[in-house]
């Protein structure tokens, strides 16, 4: 089969998997939160979430009515032939998934306010490319919900405050977001680079499984410290109170300019959807997040 067709099929499957089945690490984290939540009201919300996840699987329907903005991450082996055809394949897969899964049409022209009806439009689906050695292609899709997107922020911190400034920034951001992003959330946090680099890294950090802390022990420690701190806010599931406000914190960084300390916080809601697959040179496909396929 041609690469274009393979990529289209795999991307379609990934979209379908992502919106119907939550990744195992997210599901486990929600179950654990349900067991450990001490607020009765908070518990009712986590129970409703778990019931909803089960029903979505049973009826093969999207977990949440907001199936998000479609974002792809592509790790392309430099030896893969036909890379110029991939963009088109991903657009076609998005259109097909919108009709067949179905996904809610979520792509609106900001000038005319018209909805394209098929989840595609200028720059959408958005493609993040990375060129790596080798001859395989790794595809990841993140259908990103609007409610949690609305509270994502970038900020310029005071360099002299260092990491303390970052901690304050994150705590204040979570408090301000409150019930809006459908907590419990996952936080992607990034510092350094520039505003664009920080928010891109923060959003990409949302793809890291909750079971994998940052490999750098110092950063892993900071992840844990911030997780414990934001869960002391008491916002709780859906902002109704409780100790589960955030399920996990993933931190990334880039080097920064001496005079600037950009930072970004990206939120994912409990419906933290993502799916990945690897397409090998011989055309075989390995599904990485959803091992059972669709």
């Amino acid at each position: 089969m041609e690469i274009e067709k393979i990529v289209e099929n795999v991307a379609f499957n990934l979209l379908k998997q992502a919106v119907i089945y939550l990744p195992e690490d997210v599901k486990q984290a929600l179950k654990k939160a349900y067991e450990e939540e001490t607020s009765e009201t908070g518990k009712t919300q986590l129970k409703a979430i778990l019931d909803n996840i089960e029903l979505a699987e049973k009826y093969q329907a999207p977990i949440c009515q907001d199936t998000g903005t479609i974002i792809f991450y592509i790790k392309a082996g430099s030896e893969v032939k036909g890379l110029e055809k991939i963009e088109n394949a991903l657009i076609n897969a998005t259109k097909r998934a919108t009709k067949e899964v179905p996904l809610r049409p979520n792509a609106v022209n900001p000038f005319t306010q018209k909805n394209s009806g098929d989840n595609t439009g200028r720059f959408i689906p958005f493609l993040n490319w990375e060129i790596v050695p080798g001859n395989s292609l790794e595809l990841t899709v993140m259908p990103k919900g609007g409610g949690s997107e609305n509270v994502c922020v970038t900020g310029m911190l005071v360099p002299g405050e260092g990491i303390n400034g970052l901690k304050k920034f994150v705590v204040e951001t979570v408090i301000k977001a409150g019930a809006k992003p459908c907590p419990p959330n996952i936080l992607g946090i990034a510092m350094g680079g520039g505003t664009d680099i920080a928010i891109k890294l923060a959003k990409k950090a949302l793809l890291r499984p909750l079971t994998e802390p940052n490999p750098d022990p110092e950063i892993a420690k900071l992840e844990k410290e911030i997780l414990e701190a934001v869960n002391m806010t008491g916002i709780g599931p859906m902002g109704l109170g409780g100790k589960t406000t955030v399920l996990g914190v993933n931190i990334e960084y880039a080097y920064r300019h001496p005079a600037s300390f950009p930072a970004a916080v990206a939120f994912n809601c409990w419906a933290a959807r993502r799916a990945s697959a690897r397409i090998n040179a011989d055309g075989t496909v390995e599904y990485l997040t959803h091992k059972k396929g669709v």
């Binding site: 029903l55 009515q65 809610r104 809006k180 459908c182």
Partner: protein
Amino acid sequence: MAVYHLKTPISEEEIRKLKVNDVIYITGTMITARDQAHRRALEYFKQGKPLPLNLEGLAVFHCGPVVKKEGEKWIAVAAGPTTSTRMDIFEDEFIKAFKVRVVIGKGGMGKKTTDAMAKYGAVYGAFTGGAAILAAKAIKNIRSVEWLDLGTPEAMWIFEVEDFGPLVVAIDSHGNNLFLDVQKKVEENRQKIYQKLGLSL
């Protein structure tokens, strides 16, 4: 935290029993209304025009459902709640004019709505954000759809529901507002968090 199963039409007396943190399940009739249906309903009221159905004792759900049509029949595919604060500018008038007893949505509502609920006897039931299938499965029948010219999300859908919930009573008819209480507690907790992180306020 008490659990109640309510049937529409719901009386003011039943509503007055409810307190924040109680959990309710609703069986009977509910309508959906977002910004535009709220606006139109209130315009009708001002002009003395009747609504497509009498809302007294019913529930109004802030929701733009995903629906499909099979033959002549509409089916709810996904029906999670939308953010309720957008309806804050209409809700006090809406409760007063139509005597709805339960307002359902996510994220909570403000002081004006809380006051109207206390005055006229209504509660706000928080439905879990994103739990769209759970909601859709409790919708046993779509009786009809009105004002479809507003578009499917904004139209007024009339649902027959069975044990629709869980709905956490987040605003009761005695002036209590769980979301505002949680916000207050969060403000108090901020200091402890700063201390733990070794930060100054």
